[in-house]
């Protein structure tokens, strides 16, 4: 029997599910791991390792092997996506009002203050970071700050799921919809995942099934706020420095690991149809499902392999997020 727990961390809902006699022990250990990761990698916590790195731009800083791993992966994805994935957009995020956690913005009725300066400061490019892999040291260029938000979430989901798998033959870890499943439930059914309608998160568009692997979704409808007269969302297009204007409302990606799913859901949504062929040319392992403004589903040629044919559309899930 699959057991589950749910809790709040990283400004989102975390869900752990596992089966087997040691499932509860595994979920408790995994919960502690995730909460510890939040303390280390959140940009909103001044005592975090990431905040310390952001404060030390221009100097060499010794970092943990985990943070180095994330930075190295970020650099790989930065080059792989030709800069559409860029964790150094924190300057732009703060400029448009995302200088505090989403929970804090929601407390303020979804309103963010106008920027203090009349013009956004320029910043160096992400590839100007110096990574000393041998000594585990990093030097950010002056005036650069980084936000590992999405990639850290994917990284944590991957690590947490593998940790939980040490206790349970079949398990799943979800952080705000970035999910990794390891092992197949012993009752023979696939893992089920509801795909939310981005226009109304209480409605589902379809039901996906995975025997194992990861799924992640990026949406321009979730983390939104107003800044003056403008409506903002958290997906910055590094090419413009503004909230991305996208062809679709959300993109869901199915891949073997959560970190790739998280990164590619974001870059496919930001890049849109124009960048699709470039982004997916060398990634045969990626399946994406996009939702257009009318709620229509489109995606990779094989995207229907992951969707139950009998799914009723617009069926209410009734599970608050």
């Amino acid at each position: 029997m699959i057991q589950s727990i749910e809790f709040r961390s990283m400004n989102t809902t975390i869900m752990l599910a596992a089966e087997g006699p040691r499932a509860i022990d595994g979920m408790q250990a995994t919960k502690m791991f995730i909460e510890e990761c939040e303390q280390r990698f959140s940009r909103f916590l001044p005592a975090s390792e990431l905040s310390a790195l952001n404060r030390s731009a221009g100097e060499w800083v010794t970092v943990s092997s985990d943070l180095m791993d994330m930075l190295q992966l970020s650099m790989n994805y930065y080059f792989e996506t030709k800069g559409i994935f860029d964790p150094s957009i924190l300057t732009e995020l703060k400029w448009i009002g995302y200088d505090r956690s989403m929970d804090d913005i929601r407390i303020n009725n979804g309103r963010a203050p106008l920027p203090r300066a009349s013009k956004r400061a320029s910043r160096p490019a992400f590839h100007e970071i110096n990574l000393d892999l041998t000594n585990c040291r990093v030097r950010l260029p002056y005036s650069m700050e980084i936000d590992l938000g999405g990639i850290a979430k994917g990284w944590i989901v991957d690590k947490a799921a593998h940790m939980l798998h040490l206790y349970a033959p079949a398990c799943g870890v979800s952080a705000g919809g970035d999910i990794l499943f390891i092992g197949h439930p012993e009752d023979g059914f696939d893992w089920d995942v509801f795909l939310e309608d981005p226009r109304d998160s209480m409605q589902m568009l379809c039901q996906l099934h995975l025997s194992s692997g990861a799924v992640a979704t990026s949406s321009v409808m979730k983390r939104t706020w107003s800044q003056g007269e403008k409506v903002r969302h958290h997906l910055i297009d590094p090419r413009t420095g503004e909230s991305a204007r996208t062809d679709w409302l959300s993109v869901t990606v199915v891949t073997p690991d959560a970190i790739t799913a998280e990164v590619y859901a974001k870059v496919i949504l930001i890049g849109g149809e124009g960048e699709l062929s470039n982004l997916l040319r060398n990634r045969q392992d990626i399946t994406f499902i996009a939702v257009d403004p009318n709620g229509n589903l489109l995606g990779s040629p094989n995207h229907k392999d992951f969707i139950y044919e009998s799914t009723d559309t617009n069926l209410s899930i009734g599970v608050p997020h």
């Binding site: 029997m1 699959i2 589950s4 400004n11 989102t12 809902t13 869900m15 599910a17 979430k153 799943g172 979800s174 952080a175 705000g176 919809g177 970035d178 999910i179 439930p185 009752d187 023979g188 059914f189 696939d190 893992w191 089920d192 995942v193 509801f194 795909l195 939310e196 309608d197 981005p198 998160s201 589902m204 039901q207 996906l208 099934h209 025997s211 799924v215 992640a216 979704t217 990026s218 949406s219 409808m221 979730k222 983390r223 959300s250 869901t252 859901a265 139950y308 044919e309 009998s310 799914t311 899930i317 599970v319 997020h321």
Partner: protein, 90 residues
């Protein structure tokens, strides 16, 4: 007193014998279960079409249900214990 006891024993004996015989007679004249079954069996049974050969199931490829593969590769769908995962961005 002794006469009363003897009378009571005789009365119980006679009542038991008559009750047993009465019950026997009732059961003998009651309708038997197999009799009602035999009456129903006289009604005509529906005739069934012979089943198509197994090969027709395995290699079907259109939307006709009878031509669908017998061992469908579509995973089973459920709304059960692990159906609580959802994705939609955060």
């Amino acid at each position: 007193m002794k006469l009363v006891k003897i009378g009571l024993r005789v009365w119980i004996t006679i009542a038991s014998v008559f009750s047993f015989v009465g019950g026997w007679i009732m059961l003998v004249h009651a309708p038997k279960p197999y009799q009602s079954f035999q009456q129903d069996a006289n009604t005509a049974l529906p005739t069934l079409e012979p089943l198509p050969p197994l090969s027709q199931f395995v290699f079907g490829d259109d939307n006709n249900f009878q031509n669908q593969p017998m061992f469908n590769t579509q995973p089973r769908q459920r709304f059960g214990s692990n159906s609580f995962f959802r994705t939609g961005g955060s």
